[in-house]
């Protein structure tokens, strides 16, 4: 390709809160991980492998957060996932049999069976149950750029009352990145793209070269950004900030204009777990017997109607092709216009939650693959890149301070600071102060004291997960989120008191170490 007129950087943010309950044989919230593995992470690895195999020029940026990395690497969760997958495949075999006289649904049943069998082969045979080396290999091949994230996806502006807590979130997050991926990260995903002036200092200290922020975080930067959203700025701390492009986001996110709402795509809510005979789906349900979604869905969106038509694979594939072409065409027009206006090649940064692709939007991974193939061969206006590569090619940038912002609803803190969840912060702030106090009081701990200090750090970090406040605000699994918050604060508080009193409970410590087993190599002195 001759010199492109501009660049497109797709960024996928893959994150789940740390959910692992060895104390229960099954726990529903662990299904979040199983669904994401089946519907998003394995399909993403598969498409990246296919593009690599076919030597298709492409670039993609992904964040894999520390809680997700820890869960993907966990042998208990890996075995539970395999068991979950086997149940699904067994169910699909029955579905193939049940629908043998119904052409439309039979074809779908066969599709799901074969699809899940392939997922299982990929999980067990190709990756031996651990997907992380697959992502690592894609990064080593050069087409995937994986960026780091905060330790437990803490909402940093609301933790900044004690800036050591923010620094610890950043540093533990980067340490975990190094542990799993074997290199230093160049980029960082601020949780919820939540930026406050000064947070970049911790990123710069940790060697981060760039991070991403919401659109108005860049547009309202001081001084005003010369290139708007279409080039990064350098913060005074020496870290570049890239802003989310609104245009490309709308095409995917918007329920009116966005592709995922197309009537030929699979409907998310019509699921076999609710549609089919209870005894027939019972093997897929939790032990308590309540109906849950299975991921086996037979209907398409059809329209703004409760009536749904059967999902048609061919129609969906045709739309995937059309929508990939449309997205590419729109980026061509956008970048042509931007290039005429700017005196340097523009970069259009398009970040999305990774789980949008495959989980919420079933056809999403296929759309991604089609898009990258089309971009490589069907146009010459722009090239795909990563923020890191763009910085290497365009190292001179405007110095400016981004504006306080997030990509949450209404653009600031409201989702994580509302009547439903504001009660958590006095506890989080006190716990952070106490953790710093412990780190200073025990500068060179060993043995059980060190274990207790490290566990206190884990409990604090787990309590700081922004997922709990988010869930409380949205009113979904509120009990679970409240319980997680309270339990982690309470465990931290007990550790704090026991350490100060010099009276540790070895059996209790061992039990919570086995349960809250994230960050096995954490060093509590990150809070000094």
């Amino acid at each position: 390709m001759s010199s492109p007129r501009g660049y497109l950087a797709l960024v996928l943010h893959a994150h789940l809160p740390f959910v692992r309950h060895p104390e229960y044989e099954e726990f529903l919230e662990e299904r979040w991980l199983y669904e994401a593995i089946t519907e998003t992470y394995i399909p993403l690895l598969t498409l990246l492998s296919a593009l690599h195999r076919d030597r298709v020029p492409h670039r993609l940026t992904m964040s894999l957060t520390p809680p997700l990395l820890n869960m993907l690497a966990d042998s208990l969760l890996q075995s539970r996932y395999a068991r979950h997958l086997d149940r699904l495949i067994d169910f699909c075999e029955q579905e193939v049999s049940r629908t043998r006289d119904d052409g439309q649904f039979h074809r779908l049943a066969v599709f799901y069976r074969d699809h899940l069998r392939q997922i299982r082969r990929t999980f067990v045979d190709v990756y031996a149950g651990n997907l992380i080396p697959g992502f690592r290999r894609m990064q080593d091949e050069g087409n995937l750029e994986i960026i780091a994230c905060a330790a437990t996806h803490g909402f940093l502006p609301l933790l900044a009352v004690n800036e050591k807590a923010v620094r610890a979130q950043v540093r533990v997050g980067i340490d975990e990145y190094r542990r799993f991926l074997g290199r230093d990260p160049s980029g960082f995903w601020l949780p919820e793209c939540a930026y406050y002036p000064g947070v970049d200092r911790f990123l710069g200290e940790a060697g981060i070269r760039y991070f991403l922020i919401e659109s108005h975080g860049l547009l309202y930067a001081t001084p005003r950004p010369v290139y708007g959203l279409y080039a990064p700025i350098l913060t005074p701390s020496g870290v570049a900030a890239f802003g989310r492009d609104i245009e490309s986001s709308r095409q995917v996110w918007s329920s009116v204009e966005g592709y995922p709402g197309d009537h030929d795509y699979r409907d998310f809510y019509r699921d076999a777990g609710f549609d089919l005979d209870y005894e027939h789906v019972r093997p897929l349900l939790p032990p308590t017997g309540e109906r849950v979604a299975t991921g086996i869905k037979y209907y398409r969106i059809t329209g703004k109607t409760p009536h749904k038509e059967p999902y048609n694979l061919d129609w969906a594939r045709a739309k995937i092709d059309a929508h990939a072409g449309n997205f590419m065409w729109n980026r061509e027009r956008q970048i042509e216009w931007l290039a005429e206006t700017m005196d340097r090649p523009p970069i259009v940064v398009a970040p999305y939650d990774a789980e949008l692709f495959g989980h919420w939007w079933f056809e999403g991974p296929d759309w991604l693959e089609m898009l990258m193939r089309k971009v490589a061969y069907d146009q010459s206006v722009f090239r795909m890149t990563t923020p890191g590569r763009y910085l290497e090619e365009h190292p001179v940038n405007q110095v400016a301070t981004p504006a306080y912002s997030s990509w949450g609803h209404k653009g600031y803190n409201e989702v994580w600071l509302a009547h439903e969840n504001d009660w958590v912060y006095r506890h989080l702030h006190v716990a952070a102060d106490r953790m710093c106090e412990l780190a200073d009081r025990f500068p060179e701990a060993t043995g059980m004291v060190r274990r207790a200090l490290n566990q206190a750090a884990r409990e604090l970090l787990l309590a700081q997960s922004s997922d709990w406040a988010f869930i409380m605000s949205r009113g979904t699994v509120v009990d679970y989120a409240v319980t997680r918050t309270k339990d982690h604060i309470a465990r931290f508080t007990k550790l704090y008191r026991d350490l100060l009193a010099g009276e540790l409970d070895p059996a209790w410590l061992q039990e919570i170490e086995s349960r809250d087993s994230i960050f096995p190599t954490i060093d509590y002195r990150v809070y000094r």
Partner: protein, 330 residues
């Protein structure tokens, strides 16, 4: 049209019996195995999401489901805590739910967090209630920590959130001081908000006191001044609001901006080994840079307004007829 068999649900009583039987079975196996295991009813959910405009306009969509009603009673609420010495942990009180599952959507905890424009349907649209994992912590967190502390953070450019706590000793000292000055015991507390001058000046250009209801420990305060620099204090309102006596050291808060910075005084650099290394500006006069900036920013804002679009409105699929284009390359 033929399709999957109609669903049949167990009656509520059958669910209850099933849960009890399961719980008894588990209790037996728990006792035998010496492990603490407890079954729970589970909750499925969905999350609403939408798109945020850079101007901060409220484009929210209703979407989040209301909380499911709590089931009355539970068939096997008793903990199956093992008698053989398993460690009693804090959140082992998990109760099965008798809420009838009449359809729900499993979903990850984070639906896409960017929300659709006002008027858009919630995406993906949910048409079901969601059953619930009923877990509860055995623990209550302390109501206070015996600290003197005031924390104030912005919620958005217009609203501030503050919480505070004072030690009893701190309050008693103040009361004694006021009594020594012949004053009545304080009965009101409040937050004092001061707007500080521009450019880091310490002078107060405006201030007011927000009286608080008795027992309040936090408050949202409407400031209505994006980008303002504030000094927030917590203390006692004395007399008829005539005087404010601080109980805690004040805190300074910078409210977020909601507008373009007025200046385009662009400085350029690249990252060197020792921080930013200044670089010469692009060979463009300042006015040209301002023009570029305004055009690009107008375009970015205009992504939410058709009238500002400067290239063909191609993003709407309904307006893009693939039949009229041989291929994206043509």
């Amino acid at each position: 049209m033929k399709g999957p068999s109609p669903k049949s649900r167990p009656a509520l009583g059958e669910v209850a019996v099933s849960v009890v039987e399961t719980a008894v079975e588990i209790a037996s196996s728990v006792a035998a195995a010496g492990q603490g295991v407890f079954r729970a009813a589970l909750k499925l959910y969905r999350l609403a999401q939408g798109v945020v405009a850079p101007s901060g306009e409220d484009e929210s969509m209703p979407g989040a489901t209301s909380r499911p009603a709590r089931a009355s009673g539970s068939a096997a609420a008793a903990s199956t805590r093992a008698t053989s010495g398993a460690i009693a942990l804090d959140s082992d009180a998990i109760e099965p739910s008798l809420t009838t599952a009449h359809g729900a959507a499993a979903g990850l905890p984070h639906a896409p967090t960017i929300e659709p424009a006002s008027g858009d349907r919630a995406w993906p649209a949910a048409d079901r209630e969601i059953p619930s994992t009923r877990v509860s912590s055995r623990l209550d967190l302390p109501g206070h920590y015996d600290l003197d502390r005031l924390v104030a953070v912005p919620r958005d450019p217009d609203w501030l959130f503050a919480y505070w706590e004072t030690r009893d000793a701190t309050r008693r000292r103040l009361e004694a001081r006021l009594a020594g000055q012949g004053g009545a015991p304080p009965t009101k507390h409040g937050l004092r908000i001061a707007i500080l001058g521009a450019g880091g000046a310490d002078t107060e250009t405006l201030n007011w006191t927000v009286e608080l209801p008795p027992g309040a420990t936090s408050r949202y305060v409407e400031i209505g001044r994006p980008s303002a620099r504030l000094r927030v204090s917590y203390g006692i309102v004395v007399g008829a609001g005539a005087a404010f006596v601080p109980l805690l050291p004040p805190v300074e808060v910078n409210m977020p901006s909601r507008e373009l910075a007025p200046e385009i005084d662009a400085r350029w650099a690249q990252l060197g080994d020792h921080g930013l290394a200044p670089e010469p500006a692009p060979e463009q006069p300042q006015e040209r840079l301002r023009e570029i900036s305004e055009r690009l920013i107008r375009h970015a804002h205009g992504a939410n307004a058709e009238s500002s679009r400067e290239w063909p409105p191609t993003h709407r699929l309904v307006e893009f007829d693939f039949g009229s284009h041989a291929s994206p390359r043509s």
